[in-house]
C-alpha cells in the first residue's frame, strides 16, 4: 500500500465494505455486511454486545482477514492486508481496552505514532546528526502540537501505566492522531468515562473532524453521544447489518428497537 494512492475528494466514498463475512470456526462474527464511509464524515457503528462491531473494525485495519467479501479503501480493493500495511495506508485506530506502551512516557507513546513517517536511515539516527536530527525535531514539533490540542501537557513525561483511565484513552487518541491518518477508527472512545470526561472526548472527536478533516468511524454505546456526533449510523446485530441511516431514523427503526429491547412474542 505504500507509494502514491489516489486522493479521495470530500464527500466521496473513502472506504467500502462489500458483503464481508467473518467466522471463527463455527461461530459467525459477521455475515454479509456491506456499508461505506464517506470522506470527512463521522460514521458510527452501534449494536448490542457481541454484535460484531469490534470484529468489523478489526477487519478494516487488517487484524482479521474476512473469509468472504471485499474492502475497498481509497479506491484500492484488497483481499488480504496486514495491520502494518493498513497503518501505512493511512488507517489509525484506538482500542476498546486501551492498548498503550505502558512503560513509555506520554511523549514516547505519541512519538511511536510517527514511526511510519520517519524516513532517515539508521546510521544518521545513530549518530544523532544532520538530517536525522532535523527530522526528529520536526516530528517533535508535530507531537507537541497534538499534546497541546489534547490538553495533556502536564503528563508529557509520565509513564502512561501510571495515568488514570480517562487520560490513557486521551493519550491513545493522541498516538492515533500522530499518524495523521485518513481514516481514524475509535473503538468505544467514551467507555468507562464519567460525564465530564465524555464531554471532553466528544469535543476532541468533533475538533479532530473539523480541524484536520479526518474521517472517523467510531463504535459507541451511548446513544446520546452517537446522536451528537455521527452523521450516519450502521447498526449490527448478531453479525448482520439491520439498519443504516441517520441517527434520528435509526432511533425510530423497528428492527433496531427490537434488537436493543427485545420483541414481544
Amino acid at each position: 500500500m505504500k507509494g502514491p494512492t489516489p486522493e479521495v475528494a470530500a464527500g466521496e466514498i473513502l472506504l467500502a465494505a462489500e458483503a464481508v463475512t467473518l467466522a471463527f470456526g463455527g461461530v459467525k462474527a459477521l455475515t454479509d455486511v456491506s456499508f461505506d464511509i464517506r470522506k470527512g464524515e463521522i460514521r458510527a457503528i452501534i449494536g448490542p454486545n457481541g454484535a460484531g462491531k469490534t470484529s468489523m473494525l478489526n477487519v478494516i485495519n487488517g487484524f482479521y482477514q474476512p473469509q468472504k467479501g471485499r474492502i475497498t479503501f481509497k479506491g484500492v480493493t484488497r483481499n488480504e492486508m496486514r495491520p502494518h500495511e493498513a497503518a501505512a495506508g493511512g488507517i489509525a485506530r484506538t482500542f476498546q481496552n486501551v492498548a498503550l506502551f505502558k512503560s513509555m512516557t506520554t511523549l514516547d507513546n505519541i512519538m511511536a505514532g510517527r514511526t511510519l513517517k520517519m524516513r532517515r536511515n539508521l546510521v544518521w539516527q545513530l549518530l544523532r546528526f544532520g538530517p536525522a536530527m532535523q527530522e526528529e525535531v520536526e516530528h517533535r514539533r508535530k507531537v507537541e502540537e497534538i499534546i497541546d490540542f489534547l490538553e495533556i501537557e502536564h503528563i508529557r513525561r509520565v509513564p502512561v501505566g501510571r495515568l488514570p483511565y480517562g487520560l490513557q484513552k486521551r493519550v491513545e487518541l493522541g498516538r492515533a492522531l500522530a499518524m495523521e491518518p485518513d481514516l481514524l477508527l475509535l473503538d468505544e472512545p467514551m467507555a468507562g468515562m464519567n460525564m465530564e470526561e465524555k464531554e471532553d472526548m466528544c469535543r476532541f472527536v468533533l475538533d479532530v473532524n473539523n480541524h484536520y478533516g479526518t474521517t472517523i468511524a467510531l463504535i459507541e454505546h451511548d446513544m446520546g453521544v452517537v446522536m451528537d456526533l455521527a452523521e450516519r449510523v450502521v447498526v449490527l446485530d448478531y453479525g448482520r447489518k439491520i439498519a443504516d441511516a441517520t441517527p434520528n431514523d435509526v432511533k425510530r427503526d423497528q428492527n433496531v428497537i427490537a434488537a436493543y429491547l427485545g420483541v414481544a412474542h
Binding site: N61, F63, R82, P83, H84, A87, A88, A92, R93, F95, A99, L100, F101, K102, S103, M104, D108, M111, A112, G113, T115, L116, M118, L122, Q125, L126, R128, P159, G161, R162, P164, R175, A176, M179
Partner: protein
C-alpha cells in the same frame, strides 16, 4: 573475634600489602565481568523487544560457535585458501546462519504466537533450546571442538606491566574481549534509545496489537532483534570458546549470567555491563581473598549471594525500569 577479623579485616590488609596482586585480581574480574556482560546482553536484547526470557540464549552461544568452527573445518577439507581466509569466510557464513536462524524463529515460532501470553513464548524458547541441541549434535557431532582463535587473528600472548612494585600480566585476548564487548554494548545502547527501530522495539515489548496499529511490523522487528542477539551469541561463543573449548557444556555459562541480569535489570543494556562487572570482580576478589575461608566452591555461589543482596533493596535491578502497576 578471630573469625570476624578473618572475614572483615584480614582480606583488606592483604590487598593493601600486595597491590600488584590486587590489580591482577581486579583485571581478571574485569575480563570475566565483560564476558558475563556479553551473555547477559543477549538475554536483555530479546527481553526488551518481546518481554520474554529467552531460555535458548545459552545454546545459541554454543550453536553459533559450533557453526563457525564447523564451517572452518569444512572449508579446510575442501581445500579453501590459507587458514586465515577460510576462517573469515567461515565467520561470514556463521553470521548468515544466525540471520537464517532469526528468520526461522520468527516464521516458525513467534509468528504463530502473536498476542499470546508471555509465558507461552517463554515455553516456546524451551522448545527452541532442545531443537538446537538436537540439530547441533546431528550436524556437528557431540565432540568438543577447538575455537579457531589464532586463525581469526585474535591477539595471542600476554602484556606484562611492571607496576605497583610487582608484575601484572594482561592476556592480550582478554584486552581484545573487553574492547569488543564495550563497543558492542555502546552501539546497542545508542541503537535502542535513539533510533526509530529502537523505539519500535520497546513498543513491541509493551503491546503487540498497539504496535501493529501504529504500523510497526512485528516480523521485521523480531528478525532484527533475534539476529542482533544471534550476533552477540556468536561473539560470546568466540570469546568464551577461545578460553576453553567449544562444546555443549558451554551452554551452562548462560546460568552464570542470571545473577548479572538480576543485578542489572532485565531491560537495561548498561545494566548488563555494570552487573557483569560487579559479578565478575566480586567473584574473583571473593575467590582469591575470601576463598580460603569458605573452601574453593565460593565462585559458584558468591555471584548469586551478591545478586540476592541487591535484590533485597532494588527488586527491579540497578537499572531496570521501575515496575508500575495501577491497582
Amino acid at each position: 573475634m578471630n573469625l570476624l577479623y578473618k572475614i572483615f579485616l584480614d582480606p583488606f590488609v592483604q590487598m593493601a600489602a600486595a597491590p600488584d596482586l590486587l590489580a591482577q585480581t581486579l583485571w581478571e574480574g574485569l575480563v570475566a565481568g565483560m564476558l558475563y556482560a556479553l551473555i547477559a546482553l543477549g538475554f536483555v536484547l530479546i527481553f526488551k523487544a518481546s518481554g520474554v526470557f529467552n531460555f535458548a540464549q545459552g545454546i545459541m552461544v554454543v550453536f553459533a560457535a559450533l557453526t563457525l568452527v564447523g564451517f572452518y573445518e569444512l572449508l579446510r577439507r575442501l581445500g579453501v585458501g590459507p587458514a586465515g581466509l577460510a576462517a573469515y569466510v567461515a565467520l561470514g557464513l556463521a553470521v548468515l546462519v544466525m540471520l537464517a536462524l532469526a528468520w526461522g524463529v520468527e516464521r516458525l515460532v513467534l509468528r504463530p504466537l502473536v498476542n499470546q501470553p508471555d509465558i507461552i513464548l517463554f515455553m516456546a524458547t524451551f522448545g527452541l533450546t532442545y531443537f538446537l541441541i538436537g540439530f547441533g549434535e546431528l550436524v556437528f557431532g557431540g565432540d568438543p571442538k577447538i575455537m579457531i582463535a589464532n586463525e581469526l587473528n585474535l591477539p595471542r600472548g600476554a602484556l606484562d606491566l611492571k607496576i605497583l612494585g610487582g608484575l601484572v600480566s594482561l592476556q592480550k585476548i582478554d584486552i581484545a574481549a573487553a574492547l569488543i564487548a564495550s563497543i558492542m554494548v555502546a552501539v546497542l545502547a545508542v541503537f535502542f534509545s535513539k533510533t526509530r527501530i529502537g523505539r519500535a522495539l520497546r513498543a513491541v515489548a509493551d503491546s503487540h496489537k498497539a504496535a501493529l496499529s501504529v504500523g510497526i511490523s512485528l516480523e521485521q522487528i523480531w528478525v532484527i532483534v533475534w539476529f542482533a542477539s544471534g550476533l552477540v551469541a556468536l561473539v560470546t561463543g568466540i570469546m568464551w570458546g577461545a578460553r576453553s573449548e567449544v562444546s555443549f557444556a558451554l551452554q551452562i555459562i548462560a546460568l552464570r549470567a542470571l545473577p548479572v541480569l538480576i543485578l542489572g535489570g532485565f531491560t537495561s543494556i548498561p545494566g548488563a555491563i555494570v552487573g557483569g562487572l560487579i559479578v565478575g570482580i566480586g567473584e574473583k576478589l571473593g575467590e582469591f581473598y575470601w576463598g580460603p575461608l569458605f573452601g574453593s566452591g565460593i565462585e559458584s555461589w558468591l555471584s548469586y549471594f551478591i545478586a540476592l543482596t541487591f535484590l533485597l533493596f532494588r527488586p527491579q535491578g540497578l537499572f531496570g525500569e521501575k515496575i508500575i502497576e495501577r491497582v
